[in-house]
């Protein structure tokens, strides 16, 4: 190897075969083969059975609950995440670093822990429950609870995607708009927002994808009533416990399909965001 090194080094650093081989072997064993096992199972089930299981009333209800709650959660974070990114980038105030660090808590906190904490917090013996009860609002065991749990686990996606873009924004554009007499709100809507739009959308897409797959945070607060508050990943889990592997595989495949489409969308948006930033 040392003999060959000086000649090959002109083009390539050593260790290429070893590192690429290790990477491919590991990815194949840990990711590809298990995912292929799921796809093969789907093929074995056949398109007719697949459609029958995926369009069964209980599965449709689970997909509807999951999609609705994920959409609400994403809408919450679209606004809250944008506000946080804006405040953290544009203003200086005491406690800013702490607030910034707090944004990572939903990533670091195990989802099951977040799940039991939110459930107890919003129950009648928690801190928020009694107040909401007095207002006649029920969060635990409802769609609202599912959405709140999903929102909690996906907060950082919007914040951390928008933040760097906002930081890199050229202040000259805003100053120019201001010189031309534009009001702050107009500047935000016409100058700042279009520039961060691709990143914001990419962050929202990732947050949505994350919400669709969330399990630990949701199962405790959902109440898991079939047809009402049962999420798709829980239904897949229940099918496994019933040894209905076909049922589990079909729902898992449908969720996998959603995830891959959203991954593609997010990648395209981030590609667009990168081009937008270069053009600025």
């Amino acid at each position: 190897m040392t003999v060959a090194a000086p000649i090959r080094a002109k083009r390539v650093l050593p260790g290429f075969t070893l590192s690429l081989g290790t990477t491919l072997l590991y990815l194949t064993l840990i990711i590809l083969i298990p995912v292929i096992a799921l796809v093969l199972k789907g093929a074995e089930i056949g398109p007719d059975n697949f459609m029958r299981i995926v369009t069964s009333p209980r599965a449709l209800a689970a997909f509807r609950v999951t999609l609705t709650a994920a959409a609400i959660a994403t809408a919450i974070n679209a606004v809250y995440g944008l506000l946080m990114a804006w405040v953290l980038v544009r203003y200086d105030f005491p406690g800013k670093r702490l607030l910034d660090a707090l944004m990572d808590i939903p990533f670091a906190l195990p989802t099951a822990v977040a799940g039991i904490s939110l459930t107890a917090l919003f129950s009648s013996s928690g801190w928020f429950g009694p107040l909401l009860d007095a207002l006649g609002l029920q969060v635990v065991y409802t769609l609202a609870g599912i959405a709140i749990a999903m929102a909690f686990t996906s907060i950082p996606f919007v914040v951390r995607t928008v933040q760097p873009v906002l930081e890199d924004l050229d202040p000259a554009l805003e100053q120019a708009a201001e010189t031309l007499g534009a009001r702050p709100w107009t500047i935000f809507v016409r100058v700042v927002f279009p520039a961060i739009l691709p990143a914001w959308l990419a962050g929202c897409t990732t947050a949505f994808a994350r919400s669709l797959g969330e399990f630990g945070a949701v199962v405790f607060i959902a109440g898991n009533l079939p047809m009402k508050t049962e999420i798709a990943s829980l239904l897949a889990y229940i099918r496994l416990e019933e040894y209905d592997y076909n049922g589990a595989a079909v729902i898992a495949l449908a969720l996998l399909g959603f995830a891959l489409v959203l991954l593609l969308a997010s990648n395209l948006l981030q590609f667009w965001a990168a081009r937008y930033r270069e053009a600025m």
Binding site: F16, L20, V87, G213, L240
Partner: protein
């Protein structure tokens, strides 16, 4: 600077702070409040419960296997992708990040369909008396899947930004591959590597959905700490559940503290390279 507009910023900062207190800080504080609701002695008794201790031990074993393996994988992947040119690099990076976009529940189901009793390899495994599902190997495998991208994700952009000039110089001076890696590349990426390892550890310790599918939930045997928290909570042992949860929360807080510390250190890494690398999080 622009002329001062004190009211709007002040309102926005207040709103952001209040929302964060309600939405993020309250759930966090509530865990400790509930864990300590019956006093320190009850808390200590809950933590020292044999089943809780076993769950902690199992979780530690899983993390101690999964994190080093994924550090090695992350370094190998980053070395291949960042320091070399070959067709399919983009595809490889997407493949590495797939676990981020797949729900851990799906990962668990994939593994069950592969290694389970009715899985593709089920008959073979049964014939040779190998137990993967509902045992430690299954839990480790799912954790490996879920945490695979963390180190690669942190190290890769940095190694790409730093280019290959230093390594090429070292090779020209006669350094072996291992010398180049350990003396040139590794010192350049040490903070990012540590950062990735911290995130990977936090995730490995906290994994719930995927492990839940493959563990079989056998009390005192295949219950990791997050699964044990669920078990206690469903048993209506709320104080016990929150006591166990508080240890996981402490690990998360330590991870965050280390992360914040490392971010300031990483600043030095980054300033050596290009500024303005996108820092999109993909950690779940």
């Amino acid at each position: 600077m622009r002329p001062p507009r004190p009211l709007v910023p002040r309102l926005l900062i207040a709103l952001a702070t209040v929302l964060t207190l309600l939405f993020v800080v309250a759930p966090l504080a509530f865990i400790f409040a509930r864990a300590l609701a019956d006093g320190w002695q009850v808390y200590a008794a809950n933590i020292l419960d044999p089943l809780t201790l076993h769950a902690m031990w199992l979780t530690s074993v899983v993390a101690l296997i999964a994190v080093p393996v994924n550090i090695l994988f992350g370094l190998a992947a980053a070395w291949a992708v960042a320091k070399h040119r070959f067709p399919g690099r983009g595809l490889l990076v997407t493949l590495i990040e797939i676990p981020f976009s797949i729900s851990p529940i799906i990962a668990g189901i994939c593994y069950l369909l592969l290694y389970g009793r009715q899985g593709l390899l089920g008959p073979f495994l049964r014939e040779h008396d190998i137990q993967i599902m509902f045992a430690l190997p299954g839990i480790v495998l799912v954790t490996l899947f879920v945490t695979a991208p963390f180190v690669a994700r942190e190290v890769l952009p940095l190694m790409q930004g730093q280019g290959t000039e230093q390594e090429e110089a070292a090779v020209t001076l006669g350094a072996s591959g291992w010398q180049v890696f350990s003396r040139v590349t590794l010192p350049n990426i040490r903070w990012a590597l540590l950062y990735g390892a911290v995130l990977c550890t936090a995730r490995a310790v906290g994994e719930f959905g995927g492990v839940s599918v493959v563990s079989g939930n056998i009390r005192g045997q295949t219950n990791t700490l997050p699964l044990h928290v669920e078990l206690l909570f469903n048993d209506l042992n709320t104080t016990g559940a929150f006591a166990a949860a508080s240890t996981l929360t402490l690990i998360a807080l330590v991870a965050l503290a280390v992360k914040t510390l490392l971010e300031t250190q990483r600043g030095t890494d980054h300033s050596a390279t290009r500024k303005g690398e996108s820092n999109v999080p993909a950690h779940q």
